[in-house]
């Protein structure tokens, strides 16, 4: 067992965890934050993607022990965040989800794309989204939703994870 302290959505959480526990399982089972979804569990599907120290990472490939002292932001942690609000509104308007399983990872990746890349176009959004799989095949509307938010021009101002 390892003692870890991880800042989750602004709250410092200290627990003793199994050495092999993933950050995703830590969030779901120790913090009861089930918004982080676990799909393939080997880094391919992107459903578990969340922000660690402001950067998207795969929480299935990050050990809880290795996240000790880090700042983690899950899909539950964006209250009052203007950029995430705009992304969610666009996902809603464009019907950018069906079953919703991939959505937490899609939102984290969309947030990163919009805040990191100033010269976005459809092609770039598509290639940046390549690491997030949607089995309902809703890619067209997801790309359009991100394009919408980019066009609103709020992405690069006043938002950091």
């Amino acid at each position: 067992m390892k003692a870890v302290t991880i800042c989750v959505n602004g709250e410092r959480i200290s627990r003793s965890v199994d050495d092999r526990l993933s950050l995703a399982d830590f969030l779901r089972e120790h913090c009861l934050l089930t918004g982080t979804h676990i799909g393939c569990e080997h880094g391919v599907c992107g459903a578990c993607t969340l922000m660690m120290n402001g950067q998207p990472v795969r929480s299935c490939l990050t050990l809880a022990a290795a996240a000790d002292g880090r700042d983690v932001r899950t899909v539950e942690g964006y209250e009052g965040d203007a950029l995430m609000q705009a992304i969610r509104r666009a996902f809603n308007l464009r019907h950018a989800l069906q079953c919703g399983f991939c959505t937490p990872g899609m939102l984290a990746t969309a947030y990163d794309i919009l805040s990191r890349i100033p010269d976005l176009d459809r092609e770039r959004i598509r290639s940046e989204l390549a690491g997030n799989l949607c089995r309902c095949t809703g890619y067209l509307s997801i790309v359009t939703a991100i394009e919408d938010v980019h066009a609103q021009g709020i992405a690069r101002k006043g938002s950091s994870a």
């Binding site: 050495d19 080997h42 880094g43 391919v44 490939l61 050990l63 022990a65 290795a66 290639s127 390549a130």
Partner: protein, 275 residues
């Protein structure tokens, strides 16, 4: 799946890390970003008793110039290279390659040293570093040593690294201002491992010319005949000479007809994009 039980160790210094490895020569695996070892653990393809996390060793997270050589710390991430956080000594080649590795969430954690030490033949850095004639610095109980990347890799996921050795940095020689490079990669989808990739680096001022082919099953191949043709003065007959040279080089590459055609196309594309 969940990984089998292991003990997680996070040493505070390089010496401590080497000591931990020395004491556990058979049953410890080194983890940097964990983007290759992580899936192997989760799929239980790897079941080490101990995982040694070196990702916070400051010495491995830095890069520095020494003369005409850039030493890139083993734990520098693909994303840091993509974002130009290290000195550009390759006229943009490293940045271009980094962009094509997996996905941003993976690039944020995956490291240059981890990728090279893992030595998956289809991974992008092996091919790139052999094309750049880069070396690696290894640290162990008997001090530090250097080895060319081409000599370091002995097979698919096999290297000359010893049980109590750590890859500390990658030594990349600076390309001269007249150097040109070309890069081509074919993968089934963006971010996937390459089915075939080729890098050509031509640097007349350093009398260096190297074409390297990377593929799935075996370590990258230095295309010697093609490299020699490119080293010569550009002439009208270059296209024809090159076609012959590529065929000579590929004759020693084991591949079925479809793969062979793909490799030839990728090598040609890399050479055509030399700029």
């Amino acid at each position: 799946m969940k990984p089998a039980q292991f003990g997680y160790l996070r040493p505070d210094s390089l010496a401590e890390a080497i000591g931990l490895l020395k004491d556990r020569p058979q049953d410890a695996r080194v983890m940097a970003g964990g983007q290759s070892l992580g899936p192997m653990l989760n799929l239980r393809l790897a079941q080490p008793k101990h995982v040694i996390d070196i990702s916070r060793l400051g010495e491995l997270c830095d890069s520095s110039m020494s003369g005409d050589t850039l030493a890139i710390g083993a734990c520098i991430t693909h994303a840091q290279i993509e974002d130009g956080k290290i000195t550009d000594v390759t006229r943009g080649l490293l940045t271009q390659v980094a962009k094509g590795i997996a996905y941003r969430a993976v690039r944020n954690r995956g490291t240059l040293g981890g990728s090279l030490a893992h030595a998956d033949p289809a991974a992008d850095w092996l091919t790139t570093m052999i094309a750049l004639d880069a070396s690696l610095e290894l640290a162990g109980t008997n001090g530090r040593s250097q080895v060319k990347v081409a000599k370091f890799v002995t097979g698919a996921m096999e290297t000359t690294i010893e049980a109590a050795q750590l890859l500390t940095c990658v030594l990349v020689p600076r390309l001269s201002t007249s150097a040109r490079w070309g890069y081509a990669k074919y993968a089934r989808k963006p971010g996937d491992f390459a089915e075939s990739m080729a890098i050509a680096v031509v640097d007349p001022d350093r009398a260096s010319s190297r074409v390297v082919l990377g593929r799935r099953s075996e370590p990258p191949a230095l295309m010697q005949a093609s490299s020699q043709v490119l080293a010569g003065k550009p002439a009208e007959s270059l296209t024809e000479k090159l076609a012959t040279a590529i065929e000579v080089d590929l004759s020693s590459v084991r591949a079925d007809q479809a793969d062979w055609t793909m490799h030839r196309a990728i090598v040609l594309r890399a050479i055509r994009t030399l700029t």
